[in-house]
């Protein structure tokens, strides 16, 4: 399959044919030998994937041809091949953006071969990155990733729009599980900074003594154990968005340092001297009321005003019950897709049960409830008995999905549930779980699990 077009621009027929023959050994390459700069420019409409040019062409030199090619097709890679060994010429052309500069000698063909392989690998990586970025953008298109039609959520969408269209800092508040990070990502991936990094840091998850080095980075030898320079999260977010989750947990000392970074738009790594310029949008989130924290003296007032920017308050799920069934459908559809199983429906009685609950864990909790219900359901319909809420049940969703259990404990829990579902039919359960029946009998005999 010919899928990579190479132009060899070379007026020395002997050398040109040599390169042509050599490169044509790869069946994927469609190689064209061109004898002059003018002819090359006239052929550019054929959209080559790579052009190699001889520096000393009779009608124009390599530099002139390079400029003209780039004017017409800025993205086409160009490799200069020349008998000219002057370092300055090579450096100048590489500075201008030439892909490579090869000197004509006995190794040129091999070097060119390798350069093309390297180039194609880089192009493939670049394509992959572009594709992933496009996917990310789609993923965080909030009209599809944040589900709901309630007026409360529509108001949030409007604020996300406002935030994405400006450079303002954003503060997101809401109970746990309301989707604060999803909103932060929606702001980033719908803004002009979407092509730059999105860096999320959960302040509650970093030990107090490590926060400073994590955020600011450090130079080699800054402290015992600092064996190499480390870039901090502020720097990683340069050009993009820094999301500081649970900012209410930030230590007062770090708060003052963060304030300084936001004011000066620069930082000095721990143990360093040089100032590093910063340019990022700050998005913060907290489940706490920061204004109250300011009053209590737990949060600096000056920092509060600096970060509050555009406040987005996310409503708890209990205040947007209109969205509950939409969200249920969304999670179920995702679950079925991920597990490659047919569509699961929710019976009318189950809908009533789902709507009757308060969801203190909000959307995160609803997701867990739905996923567990999907696991427990039979005949592709979720019945009320399949739904287990957090409160008043030792074997609830949280226990199953979020509590740290040993593999053995999980095994026990799953087998017990299956035995219950299939009326203690050990053979059927063994078949369903694809395990040996003796495993289940042994667990029943030893009392590790009990029958229904």
């Amino acid at each position: 399959m010919l899928d990579f077009k190479i132009f060899i621009v070379e007026d020395d027929k002997w050398y040109g044919n040599l390169l042509h023959h050599f490169l044509s050994q790869n069946p994927d390459y469609e190689v064209t030998l061109i004898g002059s700069g003018k002819e090359c420019l006239a052929q550019l409409h054929r959209k080559p994937d790579l052009i190699t040019i001889d520096f000393g062409l009779p009608d124009m030199n390599g530099e002139e041809l390079y400029r003209k090619i780039k004017q017409a097709q800025p993205n086409v890679p160009v490799i200069i091949i020349s008998a000219q060994e002057k370092i300055t010429t090579a450096v100048d052309l590489l500075k201008m953006g030439a892909e490579d500069y090869l000197v004509k000698d006995e190794n040129t063909q091999q070097l060119l071969w390798k350069a093309i392989i390297r180039l194609r690998e880089n192009q493939s990586l670049k394509n992959e990155i572009t594709q992933l970025k496009a996917e990310l953008k789609t993923r965080y298109d909030y009209s599809t990733s944040i589900v709901g039609k309630s007026p409360a959520l529509q108001a949030v969408f409007r604020l996300i729009d406002k935030a994405a269209g400006s450079m303002i800092n954003v503060s997101i508040t809401g109970e746990t599980g309301t989707g604060k990070e999803l909103v932060a990502k929606a702001v980033h991936y719908n803004s002009n900074r979407s092509g730059h990094p999105y860096v999320a840091v959960n302040m509650a998850a970093i030990p107090k003594e490590l926060v400073e080095s994590e955020l600011f980075g450090y130079e080699k030898g800054a402290f015992t154990g600092a064996q190499n320079r480390k870039t901090g999260r502020f720097e990683e977010a340069n050009g993009g968005t820094l999301f500081l989750d649970e900012i209410g947990e930030m230590d007062l000392n770090i708060q003052s340092k963060l304030l300084r970074v936001l004011q000066e738009k620069e930082l000095i790594r721990l143990g360093g001297n040089s100032k590093i310029k910063l340019d990022f949008r700050l998005v913060v989130a907290t489940h706490k009321n920061l204004a109250d924290e300011v009053k209590k003296g737990n949060f600096r007032e000056d920092l509060y005003y600096r970060i509050v920017g555009l406040p987005i308050a996310l409503p708890p799920l209990r205040e947007r019950k209109d969205d509950l069934l939409l969200l249920t459908q969304f999670f179920l559809a995702n679950y079925c897709k991920e597990n490659k199983i047919p569509e699961i429906r929710v019976s009318p009685a189950s809908r009533e049960k789902l709507l009757s609950y308060n969801y203190p864990g909000n959307i995160r909790e609803l997701k867990s409830v739905i996923e567990l219900a999907a696991v427990m359901s039979e005949n592709n319909v979720i019945e009320p008995d399949d739904i287990t809420f957090l409160s008043g049940n030792n074997h609830d969703v949280d226990t199953v999905l979020n509590t740290e259990l040993t593999l053995r404990e999980y095994t026990r829990l799953i087998i017990r549930n299956y035995l219950k579902r299939y009326n203690d039919n050990v053979l059927l359960v063994a078949e369903k779980l694809d395990i040996g029946k003796s495993t289940i009998y042994k667990m029943l005999q030893t009392g590790e699990i009990e029958g229904a």
Binding site: K13, N17, K104
Partner: protein, 116 residues
């Protein structure tokens, strides 16, 4: 046909491919090139424009070196270093021209030997 000759070598070509059609084509192209270069050098001996001589040397260098033409490498390197057109340079150009004229019929004989 032998790859090694007293005054030149096809080893480089054979390293790239032992396809006789390729070898034949490359030898033919080389014969054409040296004929052309010998003519260019002859003309340059009359005009004595050093810049044009350097351009010609630059152009012929890769193929002549790759074919390991005996004595040509040294002459080319010395000519590259020259900054004035003097008697010494004139002698070097004459020598290079002579080498080209000498190897041309030998290579043409090789071509008749080479079966494609």
């Amino acid at each position: 046909m032998r790859a090694d000759h007293a005054l030149y070598s096809y080893n480089y070509l054979y390293k790239i491919s032992d396809n006789p059609a390729f070898i034949h084509k490359m030898i033919s192209l080389f014969i054409n090139s040296v004929t052309e270069y010998a003519g260019d050098l002859q003309q340059l001996q009359e005009t004595k424009v050093l810049h044009d001589l350097k351009r010609t040397i630059h152009k012929l260098k890769p193929s002549v070196l790759s074919m390991e033409v005996t004595g040509a490498r040294e002459i080319i390197l010395m000519l590259e270093e020259k900054s004035v057109w003097d008697e010494d340079l004139e002698k070097l150009v004459e020598q290079l021209k002579g080498i080209f004229q000498q190897i041309k019929p030998m290579m043409e004989a090789d071509l008749t030997e080479l079966k494609i």
